[in-house]
Amino acid sequence: MTGLEEAVEKLKSGIGAENVLEVKHQPPRNVFVLIKPEKLKEAITYVMKELGYQYIITISGVDLIKENQFEVIYHLSDYSNTISLKIRIPRDEPKVPTITDIIPGATLYEREVHDMFGIVAEGHPNLAKLLLSDGWPEDLHPLRKDVTIQQIRERLEEERRKGVRGI
């Protein structure tokens, strides 16, 4: 059993095996673990504190439009092995708890996911725009699958015609 398999077993016993929905290994040093969303903070705390991981690489969002869900992936690493914790949240109510209290380095990534998908990290100190321009409409999230590039461009042109600046 490799170190990573052992880590996943520990995680299962730490947060309860019934909360781990799916484990997929990507040899040699990566694993994707799908967990229940309500166990997210517990799982991240466990990985950081008990397994000794120190570092969050980033947070990825994926729009699973067919299932009407967002997938949020937290890529945690001990610099060598990477555990990617996945949760699925409903598309209509895109909310996750913030993890900045556990990992201060995650601030920017939560803001990026908020920009791109409109997924709100509840409890985040400042969810201001990170990447999008100043005049970007609040309800437009470019990486969602229900808008095409052409639609985004038309919408922005329309906003500009209305007199909004900074786009």
């Binding site: 999008l132 321009s133 100043d134 005049g135 970007w136 470019p142 590039i149 985004i152 461009r153 922005l156 600046r165 900074g166 786009i167």
Partner: protein, 143 residues
């Protein structure tokens, strides 16, 4: 006579401002390489300036992102007349590889007038120098 002197000095020593309108840095490092010993554009009296108010030529790289558009226009307005614009790279010309990205304007000429285009991704330093010299010719003919 005074006017002739100004014109003469502008052609002999144009000052340039480098502005990045959302480029990937490839053109920027080539613009910078033009100023360093191997290519040494200061032979033509050109000097890189930090402020648009001192510049004669604005060298623009990048495909003009939406956030930077208004700043680009402001920089252009701050530059004293007569001013010239050199668009370096495919992105500054047409949007290049970033055509059909949602956050770009696909070319500097969508926002401000351009005098000389230098194509390439990125153009070689020699090409940039060639573009600048072309611009100087244009300057001479115009005056």
């Amino acid at each position: 006579m005074g006017l002739g002197l100004v014109k003469w000095s502008r052609i002999k020593s144009p000052w340039i401002l480098h502005f990045n309108s959302g480029a990937c840095n490839a053109c920027d490092i080539e613009v910078l390489a033009v100023l360093t010993p191997r290519f040494d554009v200061e032979r033509f009296g050109m000097l890189l300036k930090g402020s648009p108010r001192h510049a004669d030529i604005i060298v623009i790289t990048g495909s003009v992102t939406r956030q930077i558009r208004d700043r680009l226009v402001r920089i252009y307005e701050q530059t004293p007349e007569p001013k010239f614009v050199l668009a370096v790279g495919n992105c500054a010309g047409t949007g290049g590889v970033f055509q059909q990205c949602y956050n770009v304007y696909e070319g500097v000429d969508k926002v401000i007038p351009v005098d000389v285009y230098v194509p390439g991704c990125p153009p070689r330093p020699e090409a940039i120098i060639h573009g600048v010299v072309k611009l100087l010719q244009k300057l001479q003919e115009a005056s």
